[in-house]
């Protein structure tokens, strides 16, 4: 008994049952160009992991590797203790990928019934409709669905097998506020039942509201991992917002300004030293109105993180939402 316990691998000492999938030191390169570098990630039952990062950061590559759709060069990936992509794994996994269109000549009802047939223990049909907010729409052809409605149908297809592991790639794209909140509630319900959820999104409030763990990828590397409070705590930047007839380039030249954004008549800048910035701002542009200073959110945390790690904090960026 004693001898047996000494040879047990370390991972079995803890509550291993809650790890649904794990990625261990995974490397992947496309034609010599690194797409993932030494990525480590544990996905736990009853948790939402949000994978964030700019386009090309490696989010899709990581998900495709977890789905077994892509081979990797080095490292280990296990899903339900098996290699990813096997039929037994797929039967416990739900997947929502970005799709331009669904076959147009099938009804919502038919799409769902077809996908239910793939699973040995499918979710109850009515329950699928409830979760996806598709009640009363069963007989509509997918041709006639709006972008947000298509997303809801894709979500329905991803959950109809009662998955223990659910992948959602930008699930709320094109959804209106109400549909998005319905989706979030469904995600929370599934999570409460022990489903492990992997989410990618460009919409940071989504990650902030849902994720237990946020993974920030940049150029194939995990820059930071933690919950959203930990991310926000790492930001010293403040937001300075005001009304001004002037244009952005002039504000970019102010001391300690990291970025400037124009949104309608308001200008919003991020500063890593609010005192310096405000002093210069008020002396050079005394005519500004409606000035406010607030702490930064997740979005600012990412911007700052990006600049810190790459070491190019001088490289200020300007963007214009109303261009």
């Amino acid at each position: 008994m004693l001898a047996q316990s000494t040879i047990q691998p370390l991972t079995e000492a803890g509550p291993v049952s809650s790890v649904v999938a794990s990625v261990n030191n995974v490397h992947k390169a496309f034609k010599g160009k690194a797409a993932l570098k030494a990525v480590n990630l544990d996905i736990m039952a009853g948790q939402v992991v949000a994978i964030l990062g700019a386009n090309g950061a490696g989010k899709t590559t990581l998900i495709n590797i977890l789905l077994g759709r892509l081979a990797f060069d080095q490292g280990e990936v296990s899903v339900f203790g098996q290699s990813p992509g096997s039929l037994a794994v797929k039967r416990q996994t739900g997947v929502m990928l970005q799709v331009a269109n669904l076959p147009e000549t099938l009804k919502i009802k038919e799409h769902i019934k077809l996908f239910q047939s793939y699973y040995p223990a499918a979710m109850d049909y009515q329950q699928v409709l409830n979760y996806a907010g598709l009640n009363g729409m069963q007989n509509r052809y997918s041709r006639k669905l709006s972008g947000g409605e298509k997303q809801r149908l894709l979500f329905a297809l991803s959950i109809c097998g009662n998955p223990k592991l659910l992948f959602l790639d930008e699930p709320s794209v094109g959804m209106d506020v109400e549909a998005r909140h319905g989706l979030w509630q469904a995600i929370r319900d599934l999570k409460a039942q022990g489903t492990a959820i992997v989410l990618t999104t460009h919409y940071l409030p989504e990650a902030e509201s849902l994720a237990d763990q946020i993974v920030f990828l940049k150029q194939g590397k995990i820059l930071k991992q933690g919950n959203s409070d930990e991310f926000k705590a790492s930001v010293s930047n403040k937001l300075v917002r005001f009304c001004s007839p002037h244009f952005q380039p002039e504000f970019l030249a102010l001391p300690a300004v990291v970025s400037v954004k124009q949104s309608g008549k308001y200008t919003c800048m991020q500063s890593n030293n609010v005192n310096n910035t405000l002093q210069a701002l008020l002396s050079r542009f005394p005519q500004i109105e409606d000035l406010s200073v607030t702490g930064a959110g997740l979005e600012e945390a990412f911007l700052q993180l990006n600049h810190q790690i790459t070491g190019d904090s001088d490289n200020k960026e300007a963007s214009d939402e109303n261009a």
């Binding site: 049952s17 759709r69 039929l87 997947v95």
Partner: protein, 266 residues
């Protein structure tokens, strides 16, 4: 502790096996919805049936002035033309479009067995083939004065429907390679010249001799010759020659499809 974990894992995996009944059900349901999806798409189902039938009425009935032999000849060749359509378009264009939309990725990430999708499209192509050759036969009997024995009819239907398989595989490899926007056009560029040069529209003997020689390399020519053998209007080559050429092409197209499939996952 360790044994318990192993037992748990085993239980988890085995509870996610399907029995043979459930597996057959997936194939059946997939084929049913593939059929439903396609029949409701008039831009596929109408030309698939109308093209060969209208062509046959035109060349085999109206321009033919009651020559029963010519009508039998053209029935055989337009039958081949007919079954090539759904084979190339369902597998080729249909698949290319769904691939382009990203829909195929969703299907492949789901636990649908890959065979179910192939089976469903094969079933669809064959069902359409049956509809097409039945419509052609109806026109042949009622308008063109074709009269064949029951055995001849049955042989023809078997040849037509099974003969669609190599074209399904050709469609499959095209569907895995072509871009969604250009797939229908490219497939027409394969389909129509192939049909013409194999003597499916007008008898091969009318074509210039270099085209007749070239037709020996084309699979539709050999399928048409098999059908023509049933009504004793073929070019007189041995049965096994046609069968072997068709089998070689079947193998070749299957290999191409496999290579195209592998290429997607590199």
């Amino acid at each position: 502790m360790k044994t318990l974990n192993l037992a748990d894992t085993f239980k988890q995996v085995s509870s996610h096996r399907l029995n043979i009944g459930q597996l057959l059900k997936i194939y059946r349901v997939e084929a049913y919805y593939e059929w439903l999806k396609t029949v409701r798409n008039p831009s596929f189902s109408l030309p698939a049936i109308l093209f060969p039938v209208v062509f046959y009425i035109f060349f085999g009935v109206l321009l033919n002035h009651g020559n029963a032999q010519a009508a039998s000849y053209l029935l055989c060749t337009y039958g081949v033309f007919g079954v090539m359509g759904p084979a190339l378009f369902s597998f080729g264009a249909g698949l290319a479009i769904e691939r382009g939309q990203g829909w195929l990725d969703i299907k492949q990430a789901s636990p649908m067995p890959a065979g179910a999708q192939i089976f469903a499209r094969l079933w669809l192509a064959m069902s359409f083939s049956v509809l097409i050759v039945l419509s052609l036969s109806l026109v042949a009997v009622s308008l063109a004065g074709v009269s064949l024995s029951l055995l001849q009819w049955l042989s023809l239907i078997v040849i037509w429907v099974l003969g669609g398989i190599p074209f399904c595989l050709l469609g499959l490899s095209l569907g895995l390679v072509l871009k969604a926007q250009s797939a229908p056009a490219v497939i027409n560029l394969v389909y129509l010249p192939l049909a013409f040069m194999s003597g499916l529209w007008m008898p091969i003997t009318i074509l210039p001799s270099f085209l007749q020689d070239f037709a020996q390399f084309l699979p539709p020519y050999h399928l048409a010759q098999l059908a023509l053998k049933v009504v004793e209007l073929d070019q007189g080559q041995a049965l096994w020659q046609h069968v072997i050429v068709l089998l070689v092409y079947t193998f070749l197209f299957a290999l191409l499809s496999l290579m195209a499939h592998r290429r997607r996952h590199d």
